[in-house]
Subunit: 362 residues, 2 copies
Amino acid sequence: MKRRDVLKKVGVGAVGLGAAGMALKPRKARAKKVYNWKMVTTWPPHFPVLGEAADKTAEWIKEMSDGRLNITVYGGGELVPPLQVFDAVSSGTVEMGHGAAYYWAGKHPATQFFAAVPFGLNAQGMNAWLMAGGGQELWDELYARFNLKAWPAGNTGVQMGGWFNKEIKTIDDLKGLKMRIPGLGGKVLKKAGGNAILVAGGEIFTNLDRGVIDATEWVGPYHDSKMGFYKAAKYYYSPGWHEPGTTLECMVNKKKYEALPKDLQAIIDTACAKSNMWSLCQFEAKNEKYLVELVEKHHVKLRTFPDPVLAQLKKYSKELLDELSAKDPFTKKVCDSYRAFQKTYEAWNAISEESYAKLKHL
Amino acid sequence: MKRRDVLKKVGVGAVGLGAAGMALKPRKARAKKVYNWKMVTTWPPHFPVLGEAADKTAEWIKEMSDGRLNITVYGGGELVPPLQVFDAVSSGTVEMGHGAAYYWAGKHPATQFFAAVPFGLNAQGMNAWLMAGGGQELWDELYARFNLKAWPAGNTGVQMGGWFNKEIKTIDDLKGLKMRIPGLGGKVLKKAGGNAILVAGGEIFTNLDRGVIDATEWVGPYHDSKMGFYKAAKYYYSPGWHEPGTTLECMVNKKKYEALPKDLQAIIDTACAKSNMWSLCQFEAKNEKYLVELVEKHHVKLRTFPDPVLAQLKKYSKELLDELSAKDPFTKKVCDSYRAFQKTYEAWNAISEESYAKLKHL
């Protein structure tokens, strides 16, 4: 901060600048605009990892812009309700938003591919599709229709499959099951005869505890512990077939973004990339500790869905994507890109990550 | 760029600023230093992904700093030889460097933990250890001894196990084998009776072709294709037990870094995070295409090391880490942190990524 004071005193274009330290070319000073922006989020205020990712993105942008782009972050409901983030940013009521694209399925079904697809890409795959496989370009094309621009800005990694009050032994055990499960995963459960119930985060525990719902998914051990689900359900299932690497998004009103100076545009883009990595790292570093606590301290029974159940759910997921593609050409375009990428990614993954992962058991 | 011209004309602190667009507070102008820095790298100039990552990091830093931090990137040997990058940045001959920390094992054995450890963490694990598991703090502590500060700035993902002219059926097939394999992997091979040979990138093909070496590892299908190894060896092995997720590094002379304004410090840090993700995405998106080409067009025989061979190599790797730890307290401190993290990470990975990866076979 001292340098700044020195510079202020030395003043604009002063020839004495070089004397302040290293021999550097002074640059012609110019007034810089300060942007005071708002970011609304779908998360409770400062919610672990998810809300923190929004806070940190704003903090990094402020640091990198030397205070020229100040973003005030609002938790869901503080300024607009969580599920109105998309509209608020699209219309320009606020400049930025943070959430997950599958919340906007009602705006366009293709949004869901930019968050999570049942039996789809994991975190590394989502990043690769978005950053090097054409995914970001499709996302840009879709969101431009809504005057939005978004980036991946976080990832949960492979989620858990959820909390149940009975064991899931056959696909029939899902029949009639009232489960809190959003997005495409919920539609797959419906195909299996279950009831996908929408319950806001803050109400899940009470509903599960009172038997209003029979089961729920949320994120993974770290978050699920904080929600206290172990007090209301005893079976905790893996893997999260419905959300294998959910991408969080940071979005900006496109017109306002394009009106920013190029340096601030690049700063937002890069802060999102860091946030994307930061979030996944938090989950990967913390989940095991909480999982052990759930099992050892709270006597949660850890289970894996049986293969025949997963195979059937996978079949339903494929059907669902086929149906979505048949309804709308742009959704088909996104789905085709996603599926083609997943095919080659998984083939390489089988040789690389999967082949390597086995060595831990040697 | 038009905005800048407008601002220049309007001048410092002009009350008319608001008229240029949105109603924003004008900020007192001040001259900003321009830093012209050099980045030396261990890679051939503009080398795919690895050299490109250095180029892109510099490009992003320039964009985000609006040209206040201009970094000229030099390929290995253009300004200093590849393996003098560490010394050149440490001494301040140049400001920045790009490489991989295991090249500096001669400076301190603990450096190797910040690049790749045989049977160690994959890319997602390395990121999580560094960003959320205490790894970065240890890296900072180590590099501060050399007046350096470094960040993860790229990752290869799980590498391939290498090119061989004979099949590896038992651990005895490694005895007497002359293989180009650097770092800790080379030391493990030595324990198995092989000879780890150091050969610079540009000479590997010729040495393999002429039988000076019997085998070589490099990176993965994308890079290995470009090197033409398929013309000199027919067996291509997975997985890369010796480099399961090699972290690339971007380093800065610590004194020069600390003398930068805070915004430029944050810009370097964040550009590295993006570069880290960008590189891994390139490998993950491209490897499969080249692997298919190697097998189908160049008739390369794809093989997996037998489990008993891998189990023995894993045993040797454990011994090697124990020996390294016994020699030096700081190496022990890093190794203990790494191993403790790997243990919990792998336990969670077994429930999450590994459990999910199996579903592709349903």
